[in-house]
Subunit: 417 residues, 2 copies
């Protein structure tokens, strides 16, 4: 088959895949520029079309007209729990366990310090000291920085390990284990059920960072007995730039969850203005200060795109999209290219998130390649050293987008033709 | 003078005061309902008229069209420092010391843990241990809860004291002192210059909570040698519900500021994704996670109302407003009322913030009185036990608003007539 014929073949495959895609109509719920292929939803999700109107209403009517009364009349005060309930089914959590607010980093501190305290309470009176904190060595940096701070504040030693080595590394001295569900750089999906079981077996408390999995694939927090989890809402949940993160604390642990950030919004009776702290029951215990209403309202509206959508269907399409991208990249690049690309993302479905990371050789060409791609309307991002990241949001990414992205990449780096 | 004559007199005084008010034109910059007297700007400031348009642009153009590129092209990444520079002159801070982000509660943790660490570093090698944290005993609750957490995380003992007693209480064992500039309940203004000097003299590090003073009166952070300060932006700075708070770290202390929340946005080179933490220089060291752009953009636009406004003029009007309110309350309430009211707010200007707190007798009537006031278009708020709070935002409150509020209060509680 000639190269031109191969191109035409991928084009046709893309068109057929789109025609058969049950999620294709969801694209209409987003604001997308038809001239651009947006493959950076793993960094900032696209704008859901209903958000501008809702935000305008919150600003002009709820703040501008009702003012302070909106804390009760517009349901502002309860928003962190209410929006948490919208996220819960997407990560496999039953009611009353997810709360929204603060950044992911702040939630990592709450979760890790909380986890260490729970582990120590459990271990009280036993010989083992629980003075070690295990950290995914490939973690997104902020988790590592905050874990180091949490270790220092709780008197733990911090030990980075490869996620896959956790079952060997976790032991009677381990208080808590902080893991990323999907590696932000390579797109590798860690084995949450097995690693959670290993952590639990060792008597430690696990914390999962779901930033790159929430909204992209089934997480099954309750089903797999996860202890605590955090995640952001501006990637696959499309909440907007810097939208508030979420915290999950398993029901059975909530009574023992002892936050290092016990702000007034987590008090059992916040408006009593009691000088003595008494923590709220349930998910509200993870709250801190006055909730950020504008951003949370945008997120709440953004989550309406999930009405009637099954996360299993999203996962199926995500895998189909990344499979197809890898296939197109193989077709459009290779021999004769000035820059070689090699996927860092596992080929096995069970180990793949919803992104593909391509390592460039030579690595120093990667930043320029991404700039050129963006200039030609294919938006991914670049991560040092030498990695091109492409994120695939099944709600609004078409197979024809994928084909175009790979084709333009081939043109930029000099493909087989 | 008959009561009716007295009413007429206050009416006329109000009209003359408004006619002579140089800040009166600023009211046009806000969305206000002419049928309502909004005296709750000490809880949630009114909507600045330019905010809805700006926010719509950020959502539709910056997020919707530019997407991820807005982190650089729309200046999102630098926004925490840029908005900090807009707040700085209002609190008497020179450049490079104020950063915006997170809630007040989260900033209290950063500031207090940071203060304890600085005090201990200074005391290293000396006999005194610096193991005590002094807390304003009348503090807004969240500061107390977070201070308790900070004490626990740093191994300090927490000791509540009256703000005025700090000079006697602070000593060689004191690491840090957390004080409220204006008491949220009574409106009492604490003596920041004298208390700051006493804390410094004792070798401790001071943290001021400016939630109820920022935007209401001159704070003079640099002039008085304040070490660290935090404050919210949704009260007298009108940033919107739950808008992000700010953190001030004096230039001379920034190198030693060691945050308990070292998120990736505070890294010296965030996009290097370095597993090792290296703190940024300057105000950026107080950042944590990905900044919350929608809320911060609303705040940035809200701060444009301060263009050309001197905080000293705002203070002069604030005192005139609260003086006039107290005078009208005295005229419209008193003998024969079913509910007696007594001001908890100091009469002396040097000890008064920008609110008036009236204690009701009987106290259990207060909540009903406030509900009735709100029903009649006078919006203040109620704080247990028995306190009616009225906040006066000089940028948009007229003397005729004040007269009406006092008059309606007299009608509700049964005044002298």
């Amino acid at each position: 088959m000639s190269d031109l014929a191969a191109d035409a073949a991928q084009d046709q495959v893309a068109a057929s895949l789109d025609a058969a895609d049950p999620l294709a109509p969801l694209r209409e719920l987003f604001v997308l520029d038809d001239g651009t292929v947006y493959l950076d939803g793993n960094s900032l999700g696209a704008l859901p079309a209903r958000v501008p109107k809702r935000l305008a209403e919150v600003v002009s009517r709820e703040w501008g007209q009702l003012g302070i009364r909106s804390w009760t009349e517009s349901g502002w005060w309860e928003m962190p729990q209410r929006v948490g309930e919208l996220i819960a089914p997407l990560v496999g959590a039953g009611p009353g366990q997810v709360v929204v607010g603060d950044s992911t980093s702040v939630n990592v501190l709450k979760a890790v310090v909380g986890a260490v305290r729970i582990a120590r309470e459990r271990a009280a009176g036993r010989p083992s000291g629980r003075d070690e904190l295990l950290l995914d060595e490939a973690t997104f940096p902020t988790d590592g920085y905050i874990a180091e701070s949490a270790a220092r504040l709780t008197g733990c030693a911090l030990r980075p390990v490869a996620a896959a080595r956790v079952p060997e590394a976790v032991g009677p001295r381990t208080a808590a284990v902080l893991l990323n569900h999907v590696d932000y750089r390579t797109g590798t999906l860690n084995d949450l059920p097995a690693l959670t079981a290993a952590v639990r077996e060792a008597g430690a408390v696990g914390v999962w960072d779901l930033c790159h999995s929430a909204g992209a694939l089934p997480v099954g927090l309750d089903a797999h007995g996860v202890d605590l989890a955090v995640g952001c809402t501006y990637k696959f949940l499309n909440g907007g730039p810097g939208s508030p993160a979420f915290l999950y604390v398993r029901s059975a642990l909530q009574e023992r969850f002892d936050s290092p950030l016990p702000g007034w919004a987590s008090h059992a009776d916040p408006f009593a203005m009691d000088p003595a702290y008494a923590p709220a029951a349930g998910a509200a215990r993870g709250r801190v200060g006055t909730p950020d209403i504008l951003s949370m309202a945008a997120l709440e509206e953004a989550l309406t795109v999930w009405d009637g959508v099954r996360i299993e269907d999203v996962r199926a399409k995500s895998l189909a999209l990344t499979d197809f991208f890898l296939r197109c990249v193989a077709a459009y690049t290779g021999a004769g290219a000035e820059v070689a690309v090699r996927s860092l993302t596992p080929a096995e479905h069970a180990r793949r998130g919803s992104q593909v990371a391509l390592l460039c050789d030579p690595a120093e060409r990667a930043e320029g390649v991404m700039a050129e791609l963006i200039g030609r309307g294919v938006v991914g991002d670049f991560r040092r050293p030498g990695v091109l990241r492409f994120g695939f949001t099944p709600l609004y990414t078409a197979f024809q987008d994928v084909e175009r992205a790979a084709r333009v990449l081939g043109e930029v780096i000099g493909g087989p033709r």
